[in-house]
Amino acid sequence: MRALVIDDSRAMRRIVSSILIGLGYEIRDAGHGREGLDVLDEGWIPDLVCVDWNMPVMDGLQFVSAVRSNPAWRSVTIMMVTSESEHTQIVRALAAGAHEYVIKPFTADAIRDKLALLGLLPQEVAL
């Protein structure tokens, strides 16, 4: 399975990527939403996108809206991973088309549990 990790913090990209690699994902990353869209435009379509909210150039909410406006990317599952923890923000993200929402700080188990809910744990890990 493939995952695209989008966060302006290199440290956070490494942390999220490390968790997903441990679960068997093939990873690419991007520093903001525009870079993330560039990866999709290349034709590298992931099963999962983990995207931060507050980023320069293009924020996570704009990224979610852009992905959802393109029918070719309908299969992509989007999980927001962000320190924005207000209820209204969560509702906005889900309304824009995100499937799940993880609030920083998070644990590896929290990510794993969300992926299990989404049916996105690779089979050998889920067993």
């Binding site: 302006d8 913090s9 290199r10 440290a11 956070m12 490494r14 942390i15 490390s18 507050n54 980023m55 320069p56 962000t82 320190s83 924005e84 923890s85 207000e86 209204t88 609030i103 920083k104 700080p105 998070f106 644990t107």
Partner: protein, 185 residues
């Protein structure tokens, strides 16, 4: 007749909340502890203790803009900021940490702590991207909630501090008495 607003009169609606009325030290400490456990490591403990910061310090912060406007600032020694960054990156930390790596990781900790402080405040607010450098100055000493902790024996301060100066104090005079809806500040 023309009158001039000297800014000396304030109505009760001009009230601006100060951070100690919105969040307490225990909540800030709890937010920081949770961030440390998740980001820095499961065995990483913050000990509430006030120890003098070293001379060579580094700060990271995020700004919060809303009903309360200010910054959530982390300050520690540069060596401690580097150790924090290594702990955050764990096995993916490069052998030699560049200053950009430290700024990025230390900024991310401020981002996570700041985001959760913002969530604890009332009303919708926005959060800036993290910044690293010399901390914003304290404009109003009454608008600060500061927690001092020790991590691995080194001091770290977490300060939630207002960005605005105090409102002028209204002093009634015989020529300028307090009127209805005006409050001394």
């Amino acid at each position: 007749m023309t009158t001039t607003d000297t800014g000396q009169r304030r109505r009760s609606s001009d009230h601006r909340p100060l951070i100690p009325s919105l969040i307490d030290e225990a909540t800030v400490l709890s937010i920081a502890e949770e961030a440390w456990l998740a980001l820095v490591g499961e065995d990483e403990v913050l000990v509430p203790l006030s120890v003098e910061l070293p001379v060579d310090i580094m700060s990271s912060w995020v700004d919060v803009v809303g009903p309360w406007t200010g910054s959530v600032v982390l300050t520690t020694g540069r060596c401690t900021a580097e150790a924090l960054s290594r702990a955050l990156l764990r096995e993916s930390a490069p052998e030699v940490l560049e200053i950009e790596d430290v700024e990025d990781a230390f900024g991310e900790i401020a981002n996570v702590v700041g985001g959760n402080v913002k969530a604890a405040l009332t009303g919708p607010s926005s959060l800036s991207l993290p910044q690293v450098g010399n901390a914003p100055v304290v404009r109003n000493p009454a608008d600060v909630c500061r927690v001092d902790v020790v991590w691995r024996g080194e001091p770290v301060s977490i300060s939630v501090q207002g960005a605005l100066p105090p409102l002028p104090v209204l002093r009634p005079t015989p020529q300028n008495p307090l009127r209805e809806n005006e409050v001394p500040l």
